[in-house]
């Protein structure tokens, strides 16, 4: 498989995680204290590096078929959950994930929390907020890099995609010093959901013992088909919503 689709898939998936981590770090740094926030980030990065160093090489020693089965199953479940949420958000059944309101929530919580020094850290709240945000989103980045890279036997390309995403989002965050509200996050999640579902289906089925027609080229059909099905669901749910609201509007008109 060409490395470009792998790099792009990992880039978009990791960019979404980086945006969420950036929102938390900004909330902690701006409202509390940058020094403790950076300490929290640094410790989280060290923990992430240790996890990657421990898990990464171990994963590459696992036999490919069971690895593809497990990773395919996980990616397919993640992908379907992402797609489900993105479709519900696109059709108004679920509120859009809004980085501005997520940021406001974190800021409000950070402003009301008491300041407390612990273990050489000036502001324990800022430290733990930044630590948890970077560690949790970072774990997802590590999972994406290891699974995609190892399955395609191209960890280097996956690392390039992830590193590029983190650098781009970090530079954008430093430039605007605010949560990246202009990024169409729901559509990015929609695209990532399509990719995770497609790759998960492909690797999961291979791990279960099937051979795809055309081998890797089957992905070139699978990705657009998954996308079309998801778009069809958006259209269907829009028309369902319109049909449900039409009788209500009619009865309003009759009563007035």
């Amino acid at each position: 498989m060409n490395a470009l689709p792998l790099i792009l898939t990992v880039f978009v998936a990791c960019a979404v995680e980086a945006i969420e981590a950036l929102t938390i770090v900004l909330a902690a740094g701006i409202t509390r204290e940058w020094r403790s926030t950076f300490q929290g980030m640094a410790v989280a990065l060290v923990v992430l590096a240790a996890i990657t160093a421990a898990v990464g090489p171990a994963v590459s020693y696992l036999p490919l078929t069971p690895l593809r089965l497990v990773v395919g199953a996980l990616l397919l479940i993640f992908g379907l959950q992402w797609l489900r949420k993105a479709v519900l958000r696109a059709t108004g059944y679920k509120a859009l994930h809004d980085e501005a309101s997520a940021y406001l929530r974190e800021v409000t919580a950070a402003e009301t929390a008491a300041k407390e020094s612990r273990r050489g850290v000036g502001d324990w709240y800022a430290f733990t907020l930044a630590f948890k945000g970077v560690l949790l989103e970072g774990l997802e980045v590590v999972f994406i890099v290891i699974t995609f890279g190892d399955n395609q036997k191209n960890i280097g390309a996956a690392v390039i995609g992830a590193a590029a995403a983190i650098v781009v989002i970090t530079i954008a965050g430093i430039a605007v010093r605010a949560p990246l509200t202009k990024v169409p996050e729901n559509w990015m999640k929609f695209a990532v959901g399509i990719m995770l579902t497609s790759f998960g289906t492909f690797w999961g089925a291979e791990g279960a013992g099937v051979t795809w027609p055309g081998n890797d080229a089957a992905l070139l059909v699978l990705v657009p088909v998954v996308g079309l099905v998801a778009v069809a669901w958006i259209g269907l749910l829009h028309s369902r919503k319109a049909a449900l609201s039409a009788p209500a509007k009619e009865s309003e008109a009759v009563s007035s």
């Binding site: 479940i77 949420k85 013992g209």
Partner: protein, 68 residues
């Protein structure tokens, strides 16, 4: 005990997510694909995409169908 519960809840939320039916259908689809491939000798590459589309459709329908 609370920490163990929180740890379990984190991993459940991380892996399974909002709708456990999706994860159950994916697991069933993979198991059926493996049975067909290894025991019946059927190259059932088409089964998992169908299961994935069905799981997505069912999950969306459950959330959006008007309550009776």
């Amino acid at each position: 005990m609370n920490r163990i519960k929180a740890f379990g809840a984190f991993w459940y939320d991380f892996v399974i997510g909002d709708d456990w039916h999706v994860a159950a259908l994916v697991a069933a689809g993979l198991a059926l694909t493996a049975i067909l491939a290894h025991l019946a000798g059927v190259n059932a590459w088409w089964l998992l995409p169908l299961v994935a589309f069905a799981a997505l459709g069912w999950s969306l329908h459950r959330v959006t169908a008007p309550r009776k």
